[in-house]
């Protein structure tokens, strides 16, 4: 923290912008059902890679932006992303040692937990029985895409020389 590296922040913001665009992009109804939560994947990566720079507060702020982006209840994604960042920062030493397959399990847990929170909030609106099974698809697709996201972001981080 005492050595703020602007390139890390810039890279983070650039990748965050990309993830938000991907999250908001509408390609076709069939593909959109599987559009994973790119921002969660991104936060998981950066919290594991640079836990001393990005943490709960970053997640909270990003979550607030996502709430506005997705037109959801303000604070919903802030809560979810703060929780995800908390677990990632707390377990980052162990997570770094995990093979990719085991990391996928952790990602599955994170995405499932975040989707469950959304489910809980939606069921307060008494519409949960209307939620189709496709509500849970992004959890699966996100887990399956994690290795690709991980390798891509690591490539970007190495190219930007961020340690």
């Amino acid at each position: 923290m005492n050595n703020p590296d602007p390139s890390a922040t810039l890279t983070f913001l650039a990748t965050l912008g990309g993830a938000m665009v991907l999250k908001a992009m509408a390609i076709s109804p069939a593909v959109d059902l599987f559009n994973p939560d790119w921002v969660s994947l991104l936060l998981i990566y950066w919290c594991i890679a640079l836990p001393e720079r990005f943490g709960v507060f970053t997640g909270w702020l990003v979550g607030l932006l996502i709430d506005v982006l997705a037109g959801q209840l303000l604070g919903q994604n802030a809560l979810i992303h703060a929780l995800i960042c908390y677990f990632c920062v707390k377990e980052h030493r162990r997570l770094r040692q995990f093979p990719l397959a085991q990391q996928c399990l952790f990602v599955l847990f994170c995405l499932l937990a975040s989707r469950s929170i959304v489910f809980g909030i939606e069921s307060m609106k008494a519409t949960a029985h209307h939620l189709p099974p496709s509500f849970w698809y992004p959890v699966l697709s996100g887990t399956l895409l994690w290795p690709a996201v991980f390798l891509l972001l690591r490539k970007i981080r190495v190219l930007a020389r961020i340690n």
């Binding site: 912008g17 938000m20 665009v21 991907l22 999250k23 908001a24 992009m25 509408a26 390609i27 109804p29 959109d32 059902l33 559009n35 709960v56 507060f57 997640g59 909270w60 979550g63 607030l64 932006l65 709430d67 506005v68 982006l69 997705a70 037109g71 959801q72 209840l73 303000l74 604070g75 919903q76 802030a78 809560l79 703060a82 929780l83 908390y86 909030i121 939606e122 609106k125 519409t127 209307h130 939620l131 189709p132 496709s134 509500f135």
Partner: protein, 295 residues
Amino acid sequence: MLVAVIAALALIVTDIRTPHLHAVRAALSLVVYPLQLLASFPADTVKSFSETVISYSELQQENHRLRQDQLVNDARLLKLDALEKENIRLRVLLENSFQLGEQVLVAELVSVKLEPYAHTVLVNKGARFGVHPQQPVLDAHGIVGQVVRALPSSSEVMMITDPNHAIPVEVNRNGLRTIAFGTGQANRLHLPFLAKNADIVPGDLLVTSGLGGVFPAGYPVAVVDKFETRPDKSFANIYATPKANLETSREFLIVWSDSAPVVLGEKPAAKPNADQDKPQDKPQDSPQDKPHEQP
């Protein structure tokens, strides 16, 4: 960590209970809006590209067809004018009040996915154009939904098929009133509150009833396509298909409906103003209407 969770929970509760956080959302939306425009760029490009490479003969055909439509619509409008006058005259006889026409603003869809399970879309006109929540939104064929949030440069429109949405409707044929709920499925509305012996058949047009004060009366909403009864239920299960092209429309009309009635009877001179969309004419007129309101 605890601070973040508590802050987030506080935000959620505040956002549910009060409208105070709207300013925060409006400010943040200015940060997010460029990203949304960027995200809608590929879909919009594909659309504009397919419009650019349309062939000359197709354009000619379309032009021809549009001109014919225009002619037919003009003729209909002529008749509508006469009908509207007649309607006002008849309502004078009934001592009933007549509602003014509406003003509209054309808004374009921003091809952005909000939440797949909620049928909410983003349009490119916001509070800067005077859009406010609860405004009805139409397309050329019928009711699309209503504005739920007006951000500075965009607004969120909840469609009538959203599971959280309900719209008061009446059967055009006989004036039977009920409520149509969104189902969360595309192009499906559900009417759960009609008895088994209700006079409604597949093919009936549902129009807005004007109750509730959000949607102006008389706009087409949906066509009934399924009527089924089950012996163990006292209510019929009725499904309807929205008239509006919810999936494919890109231009929507945001409507300002004037709920203040036009003056009747005493001042025949005021009547021609009725169809000219002049909101400033009404405030002086409306007080004199009060006696007519009682049936």
